[in-house]
């Protein structure tokens, strides 16, 4: 596949050998430095940059048990591969493993779980799979059968976020790493602002790496390395509100490329009026999970499902388990009513 490049370069012509190793044919131009580099040096640079971010930000301590949220998608696969490599190469001393959540969506999750099972073998990282059935007693297929396609993503979003946290706690994990990219974060910030959901936090490693570097050529890396990943849309997702947020982000990005980064920064800087009553963090009476209400969101939804009242927990709390006393008086509050039910739709965590 490599064509011979034995001829020496013409005077004044572009360099025909990799800028770093001076041995091999360049295949890429680095975005920031505009250096022309070969495949092998690209791998080294990519991995070394991530290593530097990890070290400079002291992301891990030796001996820590670290779960990598593995969806089988590109981002989490690359993350798992690189982290595993770096752990070996630089002796981070981490106890790494893959954590996958099985929502019980036939045809979608089955295939991506097969991918993660292959990753387990390919990367030598043990795999733990936790299912919604195990954690909640319901699969997404069951839920959709009961409630149809309108609010299913709300259930899935709440359950999945908790599933990762619960899984991490169950498996006595010190850190949880996921592969969200900037688009996902920007969408989440937008969604949270639109829903007046300002008490949420988002803490994602890949994003941190991106901010530090200004870019990350994750797809190129995955392509050249021929990493095994699974990429398709959740079969229930076309109706999710997150899809609208994503389209909006893409349109904004087209007009002003910095928009994504700015939205994320806005999420951090978002100021809350001093008159707003912030939700207080306590624990759920039913299951002990973090909650600002008597019952956590998952328990409210589950109660609804089990009682055959699937609308419970969707939309603003009106009576029911948590009473109607919780108010969030944010600016976005009045427009949020009809939007609150939708929550997610993207493939990765």
């Amino acid at each position: 596949m490599e064509k011979g490049e034995a001829k020496s370069k013409k005077a004044g012509g572009p360099p025909r050998l990799c800028c770093i190793c001076n041995e091999r044919r360049p295949v890429l131009k680095r975005p920031k430095t505009l250096q022309q580099i070969c495949r092998e040096c690209f791998y080294e640079v990519f991995e070394e940059e991530i290593h530097q971010v990890i070290v400079k930000n002291r992301l891990f301590k030796s001996g820590e048990r670290v779960a990598i949220g593995a969806s089988g998608g590109k981002d989490s696969t690359v993350l798992a591969y690189v982290l595993s490599e770096l752990n070996r190469r630089h002796s981070y001393g981490l106890d790494l493993f893959l954590l996958s959540i099985d929502e019980g969506i036939t045809g979608y999750r089955d295939d991506s779980l097969e991918t993660v099972k292959r990753n387990e073998l390919q990367y030598g990282l043990p795999l733990q799979i936790l299912s919604y059935k195990d954690l909640y007693g319901w699969t997404m297929d069951d839920i959709v059968k009961m409630i149809g396609l309108k609010n299913n993503c709300t259930f899935c979003g709440v359950f999945r976020r908790q599933a990762l946290d619960r899984g991490a706690a169950l498996l006595k994990v010190d850190k949880l790493v996921t592969g969200h990219n900037a688009d996902d974060i920007a969408e989440t910030v937008l969604l949270n602002i639109l829903r007046g959901d300002i008490a949420r936090y988002v803490y994602i490693y890949l994003f941190l790496i991106m901010l530090s570097l200004g870019y990350i050529m994750i797809h190129t890396y995955a392509y050249f390395k021929k990493l095994d990943y699974f990429s398709t849309e959740c079969i229930y997702s076309p109706n999710a509100y997150r899809g609208f947020a994503r389209e909006f982000i893409k349109d904004l990005e087209r007009l002003r490329p910095r928009a994504i980064l700015d939205i994320i920064k806005s999420g951090e800087d978002f100021r809350i009026a001093t008159t707003t009553k912030m939700p207080e963090q306590g624990t759920c009476e039913r299951c002990g999970y973090i909650s600002s209400q008597k019952w956590c969101k998952a328990c409210v939804l589950l109660e609804g499902l089990n009682r055959g009242l699937p609308k419970m927990g969707i939309g603003r709390a009106r009576g029911g388990v948590n009473g109607g006393d919780h108010k969030k008086e944010t600016k976005a509050g009045s427009t949020v009513k009809s939007l609150e039910s939708k929550q997610c739709g993207s493939l990765d965590f």
Partner: protein, 97 residues
Amino acid sequence: MQLTLEFGGGLELLCDSQKIHKVNVDLPHGKYDLTMKHLLFWVRTNLIKERPEMFIKGDTVRPGVLVLVNDCDWELSGQLETTIEDKLHFMREEFVF
């Protein structure tokens, strides 16, 4: 000219969710080579089924889209003037400007 085109990083969603396309592209009138410039126009017309602005901006690809011609960055082979041989890969990358 027989070509294999691959779309990645989400770009496949613009072409009926198909990642790999084996196509036959007619050479421009009177020419013996196929340049990227011509091919981009062909792709835009024949393969991109929705939201072309996610792929193309003016004469070239949208910022953030990486083009690999035979697994080599087209920036190194003359960008729009690159002549194509048989394999192309369009990929969308994460850039934070």
